[in-house]
Every structure is written in structure tokens, then in C-alpha cells.
Symmetry: C2
Subunit: 245 residues, 2 copies
DNA sequence: TCAAAAGTGTTGACTTTACACCCATGA
DNA sequence: TCATGGGTGTAAAGTCAACACTTTTGA
């Protein structure tokens, strides 16, 4: 007991010394899924006294021997059992006071996963899916991080074929449209949506129909294999040339 | 189990994280200027043996008591004597092997400055402006950082009134067009460019004319005061609504 | 036969592109 | 008077937004 206390004090001394010279770096993951027609995000009960009762994003400190971009994959693998997920770096947050337990700079990523594929045991881990719409407050600056990632997702989703990561392998155009509506937070015209998606050439017609629906079944599609890359490769100039003259 | 026991305090959490406080974090600045009809970037001779002969971006370690976003302002102030510059965070680079002298994760910013305003003493500091077009190789991963920042600049420049930071207070439409051509790396149609810019409503007509030109002088403009904000405030949904239906 | 969603085209408004001529100035 | 760039308009093409009816299926 005595020893423990002494050690702790020494450690804390050391920490406050370190604190002055060192900065920790973490990653935080905004893990999106699409379930019951709503865009949801995976949160964990904060284990810090200071934020008791609040939820926070999944994150971890970056290990000295791992790439920054590998850290969120590790976090996802640990928490959901999934690898081969879509991940995108969004922004790095580094205000002095953003973390209660010291100076931590965090790089935010968002991830898109198909809820059917993950293997999390929600109750055990105090992990829960929360509809993005309902989230008012999170621990740390995680609400701002969430908002930033959502905004980026909205920007990307029309330009690149990434939303499909949130859907099962086979899906109908209606499902796809509802997904887009959930992400963008707006309603879309069905005819215009179908035209626009057809124009993108992202879809592969499976020649199958929905089953188990109590109405006329729709056709099923999958993401065209050509567009199945994990990492977005940005067209460098193409879109810019068309912007102006 | 007692609730208090389950919750970690911030102090305790620090201890468990001690081992991780050994990654350094830096910022690197891609400082753009516009001179002699070309987009240029401020580079410094690398003082590392490993990169002898190569140039690198301006950067520095983030101090424990400064916000991440403040660090690039400090670097710019130190190097150019300018504050009140346009700065935008772009991406964070954190591969294990990216820095020869240890584990350094770096957040990249780009900055737009009017070359006429800076106070650098180029020769003393081994600081030099380099046309972006000519840059083939830089120290560390700085070429990739430069490319990433240039791409982001190209994406932003049509959407937000930021290019004006590269021009003097008063400028002609020709100057502005040449600047855009330098940034985008493409030629633009004069009439369409003028229409497009007029439509944006970014310009304030100064009712003055160019002087010292050996041809018909053009009108001078300045950035409309309404748009003179340092930080870009993103319209959240406006552009997205128009994307689809 | 009803309810629910699938599937499909057109029109008008707007935006974008391509393109050519006269004008003002200084050399 | 020439060279240089300033300044401007229009027509055709393409894109976007709004909008309604018929079809298929299961209940």
C-alpha cells in the first residue's frame, strides 16, 4: 500500500514532467453504419470520471511502431472484428485543453461498415450504435469530430462510390436511395436519383429480384467490381477543368 | 462492482499511457505565393546529412503549450514576419519511417501569402521561393505533402474566395485570371472567367485603373470586404442539396 | 381489389462552353 | 499606326429540377 502510493506519486511527478515536454497522439474513429433507415455511429460509454454518463468515439493512442493510418484499422479490428473496412482520414484536432488527462492530439477517421458483418458483442463492451440525428453531446470534443466527419462523408458520397460499404452485397435502388437520404439528411426525387446513379456507372445489375417484400419486388444490384477499391483514388484535374471554362 | 472503481480518473489513465509519450508531432507548412506568373512555394535547404542538397518545407515541432493549429502560425511568423495569414489544415502524415531522426507525425497546412508583404531575408536563411511546377523531389515525404496541399488548394479555390490572399490589395481581372491559371495549371477563357467571377460577387470595383502598363489599362478590384475572413466557413448543406435532385 | 413500391420521360430553367469583334492606351 | 490587352454577348449543348402515371406483386 505504502509502496504503491509512493510509486504512484513518483509516476505522477514523472508524468507532469513529461507532460510539459511531450504530446500524445491518438486516433478517433467515427464508425458509421446504416440500420433501420438511419445512419448510426458506434459509441462507447466513457470510462473517465470527468465524462461519466457520456459516450465517446472509439479511439486509441497510436503505437510507436505503427503507421498513423494503421491505428484506426487496429481499433476497428479490435472493436468490431472487421478488417478490410473503408477508412478515411478527415482532420486532426489538437487544442491544448481538448483532453482532460493531458496533451493529446487526435487524428479523426471515419469508417463505413455493413452492420451485418460486424461481430461486436454490444452489451459486453458497452458499445452501442446511436442514430447520428439523436446525438447531442459526446465526451471530449467528440461531437465536433463527429460533425466534421459527417460533413466530409456528405461531401464524398456523391463523388465516389463509397456509400456501398454501408450496404449488404446486394441491394435495391430503394435501399440505396434511402441510404443517401439518411446520409445527406434530405429527401431525394426517385426518378432523378436513379438517373444520376445510372449515369455514374457504379452499379452492376445482378438480374435478381428482392424477395420477402410485400409489394412489387425491385431489382437487386451490387457495386460494380471496377469500383471496389478500398482507397479512394482522387481524379486529380478532371473535375477542376470543368469548374471553370 | 462499485461504480467508482470501474471509472478511471484522468490521472490514472495518464499512467497507463506513459509508454506512448514518445512520438513527436510537428507541423509542416506549404507556403504558397504568386510571383512572375507562377505559383511558388517557400522551401529551405535541408540541414540533414541524409537529405543534403534537397529542400524541405518549413516546419517545427508542436510545443506542449500551444494549440496544433497555432503552430503553423508561429512557424510563418518566425520565417516570414507575417501574421494574419491564410492557413488551412490539410492532412496528417504518420508513416513509421517518414522521418529519419525518429518517429515524427506531421500535420500539413497550406498558407497563401502575398509575396510583397513578407519580410524574409532569403539568402541568410537559405530560404527560397520555388515554382511549384519545377519541384521534382523534396526531403522526407515533403513532395507528397506538397502535392496533397496543392490538390486541396485547387479544390478550394473555385469554391471560396481565398486566392486573393496571393495577390496585392488591388488587382486587375487579368492578374486574377493568370493566378487561377497558375494554380489550376490550365488555361481559362477570358470572357467565361470574368462572367464566373462576377457571378460569385467576390469583387469590389475600386473605380481605379492600372497604371504603368503599355496597353489599355484595366480596372482594378479588391476583394469585397464581406468576404475578407481568414477562416473559411463552410456552407454545410447548400452545395449538397444541389448535387442530387 | 387494394396497398405499396417499382419503373419510367419530358419540359423548362439554368449553367456551361465555345467563340470574335471593337476599344483604349502607350510606344 | 501598331501592338497589346481590355472589355463585351450570344447561341448551342449539357445539366438539373420538377413533376405523374402505369405496372407488378403480396396480402
Amino acid at each position: 500500500m505504502d509502496n504503491n502510493l509512493k510509486l504512484k506519486t513518483a509516476e505522477i511527478e514523472k508524468i507532469s514532467h513529461l507532460e510539459y515536454f511531450n504530446i500524445a497522439i491518438s486516433v478517433d474513429c467515427v464508425i458509421f453504419c446504416y440500420n433501420e433507415k438511419s445512419l448510426q455511429v458506434l459509441l462507447i460509454k466513457s470510462d473517465l470520471e470527468e465524462y461519466s454518463g457520456l459516450y465517446s468515439l472509439l479511439g486509441d493512442l497510436v503505437k510507436p511502431d505503427e503507421d498513423l493510418d494503421s491505428a484506426p484499422y487496429r481499433v476497428l479490428k479490435q472493436r468490431t472484428g472487421m478488417d478490410d473496412v473503408y477508412l478515411e482520414q478527415v482532420h486532426t484536432f489538437g487544442s491544448i485543453g481538448r483532453h482532460v488527462s493531458g496533451r493529446v492530439i487526435t487524428t479523426a477517421y471515419y469508417s463505413l461498415i455493413d452492420i451485418k458483418h460486424h461481430k461486436l458483442k454490444l452489451d459486453e463492451n458497452e458499445l452501442h450504435w446511436h442514430p447520428v440525428k439523436n446525438i447531442k453531446k459526446l465526451a471530449f470534443d467528440h461531437k465536433i469530430i463527429l460533425d466534421t466527419c459527417l460533413q466530409r462523408l456528405r461531401e464524398q458520397v456523391m463523388e465516389f462510390p463509397i456509400a456501398f460499404n454501408l450496404l449488404p452485397e446486394k441491394f435495391s435502388l430503394r435501399q440505396l436511395q434511402e441510404l443517401y437520404e439518411a446520409i445527406l439528411g434530405i429527401e431525394l426525387d426517385r426518378r432523378n436519383f436513379r438517373k444520376k446513379i445510372a449515369l455514374k456507372g457504379w452499379l452492376h445489375d445482378l438480374d435478381e429480384m428482392e424477395t420477402d417484400v410485400s409489394h412489387r419486388p425491385g431489382k437487386l444490384y451490387s457495386l460494380d467490381p471496377v469500383h471496389k477499391k478500398r482507397k479512394v483514388i482522387k481524379k486529380s484535374k478532371q473535375p477542376l477543368v470543368t469548374i471553370l471554362t
